[in-house]
Symmetry: C2
Subunit: 135 residues, 2 copies
Protein backbone atom coordinates (compact mmCIF):
# COMPACT_ATOMS: atom_id res chain seq x y z
CA UNK A 1 0.00 0.00 0.00
CA UNK A 2 1.42 3.40 -0.86
CA UNK A 3 1.81 6.09 1.78
CA UNK A 4 -1.13 8.20 0.60
CA UNK A 5 -3.52 5.25 0.72
CA UNK A 6 -2.20 4.31 4.18
CA UNK A 7 -2.79 7.88 5.42
CA UNK A 8 -6.33 7.87 4.00
CA UNK A 9 -6.84 4.58 5.84
CA UNK A 10 -5.65 6.09 9.13
CA UNK A 11 -7.90 9.10 8.58
CA UNK A 12 -10.85 6.76 7.93
CA UNK A 13 -10.00 4.94 11.18
CA UNK A 14 -10.40 8.20 13.08
CA UNK A 15 -13.93 8.77 11.79
CA UNK A 16 -14.81 5.09 12.27
CA UNK A 17 -13.63 5.24 15.91
CA UNK A 18 -15.74 8.39 16.35
CA UNK A 19 -18.82 6.81 14.75
CA UNK A 20 -18.48 3.61 16.76
CA UNK A 21 -17.80 5.47 20.00
CA UNK A 22 -14.69 3.32 20.39
CA UNK A 23 -12.22 4.79 22.84
CA UNK A 24 -10.00 1.75 22.33
CA UNK A 25 -9.75 2.45 18.60
CA UNK A 26 -9.13 6.15 19.32
CA UNK A 27 -6.33 5.26 21.77
CA UNK A 28 -4.87 2.92 19.16
CA UNK A 29 -4.87 5.69 16.55
CA UNK A 30 -3.25 8.53 18.52
CA UNK A 31 0.56 8.57 18.59
CA UNK A 32 2.44 7.12 21.53
CA UNK A 33 5.96 8.54 21.06
CA UNK A 34 5.24 11.85 19.31
CA UNK A 35 3.58 14.69 21.24
CA UNK A 36 -0.12 15.20 20.43
CA UNK A 37 -2.50 18.17 20.39
CA UNK A 38 -6.27 18.27 19.81
CA UNK A 39 -8.46 21.33 19.14
CA UNK A 40 -12.14 20.42 19.36
CA UNK A 41 -14.57 22.85 17.67
CA UNK A 42 -14.67 26.14 19.59
CA UNK A 43 -12.47 24.81 22.40
CA UNK A 44 -8.94 25.61 23.57
CA UNK A 45 -6.13 23.26 22.55
CA UNK A 46 -5.62 20.09 24.57
CA UNK A 47 -1.97 19.05 24.83
CA UNK A 48 -0.65 15.57 25.69
CA UNK A 49 -1.84 12.04 24.98
CA UNK A 50 -3.54 11.46 28.34
CA UNK A 51 -5.50 14.72 28.26
CA UNK A 52 -6.43 14.27 24.59
CA UNK A 53 -7.69 10.72 25.18
CA UNK A 54 -9.59 11.90 28.29
CA UNK A 55 -11.36 14.47 26.10
CA UNK A 56 -12.29 11.74 23.61
CA UNK A 57 -13.55 9.51 26.43
CA UNK A 58 -16.05 12.22 27.35
CA UNK A 59 -17.03 12.89 23.73
CA UNK A 60 -17.38 9.22 22.84
CA UNK A 61 -19.74 8.58 25.77
CA UNK A 62 -22.27 10.23 23.51
CA UNK A 63 -21.38 8.73 20.15
CA UNK A 64 -23.07 10.64 17.31
CA UNK A 65 -26.53 9.30 16.39
CA UNK A 66 -25.42 9.33 12.75
CA UNK A 67 -22.09 8.17 11.27
CA UNK A 68 -19.32 10.80 11.23
CA UNK A 69 -18.50 11.30 7.58
CA UNK A 70 -15.35 12.77 6.08
CA UNK A 71 -15.58 14.40 2.61
CA UNK A 72 -13.15 16.08 0.27
CA UNK A 73 -10.00 14.48 1.70
CA UNK A 74 -6.76 16.16 0.60
CA UNK A 75 -3.53 14.42 1.69
CA UNK A 76 -0.32 16.44 1.88
CA UNK A 77 2.67 14.12 2.42
CA UNK A 78 5.60 16.01 3.99
CA UNK A 79 8.67 13.87 3.63
CA UNK A 80 8.15 10.17 4.18
CA UNK A 81 6.77 10.13 7.70
CA UNK A 82 4.42 13.08 8.19
CA UNK A 83 1.11 13.83 6.44
CA UNK A 84 -1.45 16.60 6.81
CA UNK A 85 -5.03 15.69 5.87
CA UNK A 86 -7.66 18.35 5.22
CA UNK A 87 -11.32 17.31 5.04
CA UNK A 88 -14.92 18.24 5.86
CA UNK A 89 -16.86 16.50 8.60
CA UNK A 90 -20.58 15.78 8.48
CA UNK A 91 -23.11 13.46 10.11
CA UNK A 92 -24.95 10.84 8.06
CA UNK A 93 -26.24 12.40 4.84
CA UNK A 94 -26.33 15.94 6.25
CA UNK A 95 -24.10 18.57 4.65
CA UNK A 96 -20.63 18.81 6.22
CA UNK A 97 -20.59 21.43 8.99
CA UNK A 98 -16.91 21.35 10.06
CA UNK A 99 -13.53 21.75 8.35
CA UNK A 100 -10.75 19.61 9.83
CA UNK A 101 -6.97 19.36 9.85
CA UNK A 102 -5.63 15.93 10.81
CA UNK A 103 -1.87 15.40 11.08
CA UNK A 104 -0.37 11.91 11.08
CA UNK A 105 3.15 10.56 11.64
CA UNK A 106 4.51 7.14 10.77
CA UNK A 107 5.33 5.53 14.12
CA UNK A 108 6.47 1.91 14.42
CA UNK A 109 5.31 1.38 10.84
CA UNK A 110 1.76 2.70 11.43
CA UNK A 111 0.30 6.10 10.61
CA UNK A 112 -0.83 7.63 13.88
CA UNK A 113 -2.59 10.91 14.65
CA UNK A 114 -0.60 13.69 16.31
CA UNK A 115 -2.90 16.66 15.71
CA UNK A 116 -6.59 17.31 15.09
CA UNK A 117 -8.38 20.61 14.70
CA UNK A 118 -11.99 20.93 13.63
CA UNK A 119 -13.80 24.24 13.22
CA UNK A 120 -17.25 25.26 11.99
CA UNK A 121 -17.92 26.07 8.33
CA UNK A 122 -19.88 29.31 7.79
CA UNK A 123 -21.82 27.53 5.04
CA UNK A 124 -22.22 23.79 5.25
CA UNK A 125 -21.04 21.76 2.24
CA UNK A 126 -23.45 19.22 0.70
CA UNK A 127 -22.38 15.59 0.66
CA UNK A 128 -20.77 14.84 -2.71
CA UNK A 129 -22.83 12.66 -5.03
CA UNK A 130 -21.68 9.03 -4.98
CA UNK A 131 -19.49 8.20 -7.97
CA UNK A 132 -21.23 6.26 -10.70
CA UNK A 133 -19.99 2.71 -10.98
CA UNK A 134 -20.13 3.14 -14.75
CA UNK A 135 -17.30 5.68 -14.84
CA UNK B 1 19.33 28.88 16.59
CA UNK B 2 17.61 25.63 17.52
CA UNK B 3 14.74 24.26 15.46
CA UNK B 4 12.01 25.22 17.93
CA UNK B 5 13.18 28.84 18.10
CA UNK B 6 13.37 28.95 14.30
CA UNK B 7 9.81 27.61 14.01
CA UNK B 8 8.56 30.19 16.54
CA UNK B 9 10.32 32.82 14.40
CA UNK B 10 8.56 31.60 11.24
CA UNK B 11 5.24 31.60 13.09
CA UNK B 12 5.89 35.17 14.25
CA UNK B 13 6.66 36.13 10.64
CA UNK B 14 3.21 34.94 9.63
CA UNK B 15 1.46 37.22 12.13
CA UNK B 16 3.79 40.09 11.29
CA UNK B 17 3.01 39.74 7.57
CA UNK B 18 -0.69 39.70 8.48
CA UNK B 19 -0.39 42.78 10.72
CA UNK B 20 1.66 44.71 8.15
CA UNK B 21 -0.60 43.69 5.27
CA UNK B 22 2.50 42.51 3.43
CA UNK B 23 1.70 40.15 0.60
CA UNK B 24 5.39 40.00 -0.25
CA UNK B 25 6.23 38.70 3.24
CA UNK B 26 3.33 36.24 3.05
CA UNK B 27 4.56 34.95 -0.33
CA UNK B 28 8.05 34.63 1.14
CA UNK B 29 6.73 32.58 4.06
CA UNK B 30 4.56 30.01 2.23
CA UNK B 31 6.38 26.96 0.86
CA UNK B 32 7.44 26.82 -2.75
CA UNK B 33 8.19 23.11 -3.27
CA UNK B 34 5.80 21.48 -0.79
CA UNK B 35 2.06 21.56 -1.48
CA UNK B 36 0.10 24.08 0.61
CA UNK B 37 -3.43 24.28 2.03
CA UNK B 38 -5.17 27.14 3.87
CA UNK B 39 -8.45 27.03 5.80
CA UNK B 40 -9.61 30.56 6.69
CA UNK B 41 -12.17 30.79 9.53
CA UNK B 42 -15.51 29.37 8.40
CA UNK B 43 -14.33 28.88 4.81
CA UNK B 44 -13.64 25.80 2.67
CA UNK B 45 -10.03 24.69 2.22
CA UNK B 46 -7.94 26.48 -0.40
CA UNK B 47 -5.41 24.19 -2.10
CA UNK B 48 -2.27 25.26 -3.96
CA UNK B 49 0.22 28.10 -3.56
CA UNK B 50 -1.28 30.39 -6.19
CA UNK B 51 -4.83 30.11 -4.83
CA UNK B 52 -3.68 30.44 -1.21
CA UNK B 53 -1.65 33.56 -2.00
CA UNK B 54 -4.59 35.00 -3.99
CA UNK B 55 -6.77 34.56 -0.89
CA UNK B 56 -4.18 36.39 1.22
CA UNK B 57 -3.97 39.17 -1.37
CA UNK B 58 -7.68 39.81 -0.85
CA UNK B 59 -7.46 39.56 2.95
CA UNK B 60 -4.38 41.76 3.21
CA UNK B 61 -6.01 44.56 1.21
CA UNK B 62 -7.81 45.23 4.46
CA UNK B 63 -5.02 44.75 6.97
CA UNK B 64 -6.42 44.50 10.51
CA UNK B 65 -6.72 47.86 12.30
CA UNK B 66 -4.94 46.27 15.27
CA UNK B 67 -1.87 43.99 15.29
CA UNK B 68 -2.61 40.27 14.86
CA UNK B 69 -1.36 38.65 18.04
CA UNK B 70 -0.49 35.02 18.62
CA UNK B 71 -0.73 33.64 22.19
CA UNK B 72 -0.08 30.28 23.82
CA UNK B 73 2.25 28.96 21.14
CA UNK B 74 2.87 25.21 21.33
CA UNK B 75 5.47 23.81 18.91
CA UNK B 76 5.37 20.11 18.01
CA UNK B 77 8.51 19.13 16.06
CA UNK B 78 7.88 16.01 13.97
CA UNK B 79 11.24 14.67 12.84
CA UNK B 80 13.75 17.30 11.81
CA UNK B 81 11.91 19.08 9.04
CA UNK B 82 8.22 19.40 9.96
CA UNK B 83 6.60 21.29 12.83
CA UNK B 84 3.00 21.83 13.90
CA UNK B 85 2.29 25.05 15.80
CA UNK B 86 -0.91 25.52 17.80
CA UNK B 87 -1.81 29.02 19.03
CA UNK B 88 -4.59 31.52 19.67
CA UNK B 89 -5.09 34.58 17.50
CA UNK B 90 -6.30 37.94 18.73
CA UNK B 91 -6.23 41.60 17.69
CA UNK B 92 -4.33 44.16 19.71
CA UNK B 93 -5.12 43.74 23.40
CA UNK B 94 -8.48 42.05 22.79
CA UNK B 95 -8.95 38.47 23.99
CA UNK B 96 -7.98 35.84 21.41
CA UNK B 97 -11.00 34.83 19.32
CA UNK B 98 -9.50 32.12 17.06
CA UNK B 99 -7.58 28.87 17.55
CA UNK B 100 -5.02 28.13 14.85
CA UNK B 101 -2.97 25.25 13.49
CA UNK B 102 0.11 26.30 11.51
CA UNK B 103 2.28 23.63 9.87
CA UNK B 104 5.82 24.43 8.71
CA UNK B 105 8.43 22.49 6.73
CA UNK B 106 12.14 23.18 6.44
CA UNK B 107 12.68 24.05 2.79
CA UNK B 108 16.04 25.25 1.44
CA UNK B 109 17.13 25.82 5.04
CA UNK B 110 14.12 28.02 5.96
CA UNK B 111 10.96 27.10 7.86
CA UNK B 112 8.06 27.75 5.49
CA UNK B 113 4.32 27.42 6.01
CA UNK B 114 2.48 24.55 4.30
CA UNK B 115 -0.82 24.60 6.20
CA UNK B 116 -2.93 27.09 8.15
CA UNK B 117 -6.32 26.55 9.73
CA UNK B 118 -7.98 29.08 12.02
CA UNK B 119 -11.38 28.59 13.62
CA UNK B 120 -13.47 30.54 16.13
CA UNK B 121 -13.20 29.93 19.86
CA UNK B 122 -16.57 29.57 21.64
CA UNK B 123 -15.16 31.62 24.51
CA UNK B 124 -12.42 34.10 23.77
CA UNK B 125 -9.19 33.76 25.73
CA UNK B 126 -7.80 36.85 27.54
CA UNK B 127 -4.37 38.06 26.55
CA UNK B 128 -1.82 36.58 28.96
CA UNK B 129 -0.31 39.07 31.40
CA UNK B 130 3.14 40.22 30.30
CA UNK B 131 5.91 38.41 32.16
CA UNK B 132 7.50 40.38 34.92
CA UNK B 133 11.01 41.48 34.13
CA UNK B 134 11.88 40.67 37.75
CA UNK B 135 11.34 36.91 37.30
Amino acid sequence: MDAEAAVVGANDSFYRAFTEGSHRAMAELWARSAAVVCVHPGAPAIVGRESVLDSWRMILREAPPLPMRCDGVVVNLLGGDVAVVTCYEGNGDHPAHLAATNVFVREDGSWRMVHHQAGPLSRSIPRPAPRSTLN
